[in-house]
């Protein structure tokens, strides 16, 4: 059979716009989800039970829901919940941000947990304060 690739070239500008949106979404989502994931991981490992449970519930919820369902829900629920009509892109960023944050949270938690216990004991070295130890080790 004959292929007609000209359709791709004729619409190259539209497809290029789409490519830019893809890259923009990926970068924005990661810009939100990396700090979000770190925050979730630290909350999960916190000694304050409320924080730890809240983080666990958030992570388990978004790890166990199809992304497409989160996007649809965000599209319908966000305007009702906030009274503001979001653009489709903003909706996608919110949904992707929630989903990827949850996954990143688990990744960071595994990363922190894989550091040997002995390193954590260094917190007893006086110089390291409570917050200083996690960020430095």
């Amino acid at each position: 059979m004959n292929y007609d690739w000209s359709v791709v070239w004729r619409n190259a500008d539209v497809l290029w716009e789409g490519t830019k949106v893809t890259v923009f979404l990926a970068v924005t989502t990661m810009a939100i989800a990396i700090p979000g994931g770190i925050a979730l991981a630290l909350m999960r490992l916190s000694r304050i039970r409320t924080l730890s449970i809240a983080s666990a519930v958030f992570v388990e919820l978004f790890r166990n829901l199809p992304l497409i369902l989160v996007i649809y829900s965000a599209y319908y629920i966000l305007p009702v919940a906030t009274g503001v009509r979001f653009s489709p892109i903003a909706t996608a960023i919110v949904a992707l941000g929630l989903n990827v944050s949850a996954y990143n949270g688990e990744t960071f938690r595994a990363g922190i947990a894989s550091i040997r216990q002995g390193l954590a004991f260094q917190r007893y070295v006086p110089r390291f304060g409570h917050l200083g130890r996690r960020s430095r080790l």
Binding site: M1, R63, N64, P66, I68, S73, Y76, V80
Partner: protein
């Protein structure tokens, strides 16, 4: 704002049939992907080098293409190229299998190379053949170590079946969209879908975690 779940309750039979389709599609995809992905993973580790390069190309391209693209391609482009038209359910099952198998193959490979090389050297020193070393020493440990990752693949597969809604497979997500559109109560319908998906997937991941916690010692060496 008040919620009115009557749309969900009046269409419950329609939606429940969708849950059945979601489960059937998930089970079929998981079974096929485990077999195919397992074979690919083994061939990727132990196969002849020509085959190995072909499989690396397959795995890496599947990991770099969104599953939605594979799905749309299977459903819309495959009939034009080959003349074979698959019904939506089977198009979705094959697209998901082709996609998930690549991930399963990577998990199998990671499990196999996580067993220290000293283990197979010791096996050879005891006079075992390569096949024996793989079957008796490496795979038993590797299989246990793969469990957590395979558990994630189970939940990812069930979630990915929701994407099949795009090519009109009448699974749960697709039927939820229909009910939401007809009833003008999208929030309630999708909230119900949230609860249903969570109650399907959460126990699956929990059970795998519990099983792994029981068996983890078998994978240590």
């Amino acid at each position: 704002m008040s919620l009115d779940f009557s749309a969900v309750f009046t269409s419950w039979q329609f939606l429940l049939a969708g849950v059945g389709d979601t489960l059937a599609l998930s089970a079929l995809t998981i079974a096929l992907s485990l077999v195919l992905g397992g074979a690919i993973g083994l061939a990727r580790c132990y196969g002849p080098s020509g085959l190995r390069w072909a499989l690396i190309f397959y795995i890496d391209s599947m990991r770099s293409i969104p599953v939605l693209v594979v799905l749309v391609w299977t459903y819309f482009a495959l009939p034009i190229v080959t003349g074979v038209t698959l019904p939506p359910f089977w198009a979705a099952a094959s697209a998901l299998t082709v996609h998930i198998s690549a991930y399963v193959a990577e998990i199998v490979r990671a499990g196999i190379i996580s067993v220290r090389p000293g283990q197979s050297r010791a096996a050879f020193a005891l006079g075992m053949s390569r096949t024996q070393a793989i079957r008796e020493i490496i795979l038993p440990q590797a299989l246990v170590r793969m469990l957590p990752a395979l558990g994630s693949i189970l939940s990812i597969t069930i979630k990915d079946t929701a994407i099949a809604a795009v090519i009109a497979v009448p699974e749960y997500m697709n039927r939820s969209q229909t009910v939401a559109g007809q009833s003008f109560h999208p929030i309630e319908v999708f909230l119900a879908a949230t609860v249903v998906y969570f109650t399907i997937i959460f126990p699956v991941t929990r059970v795998v975690d519990i099983v792994y916690a029981r068996l983890a010692y078998l994978g240590r060496s």
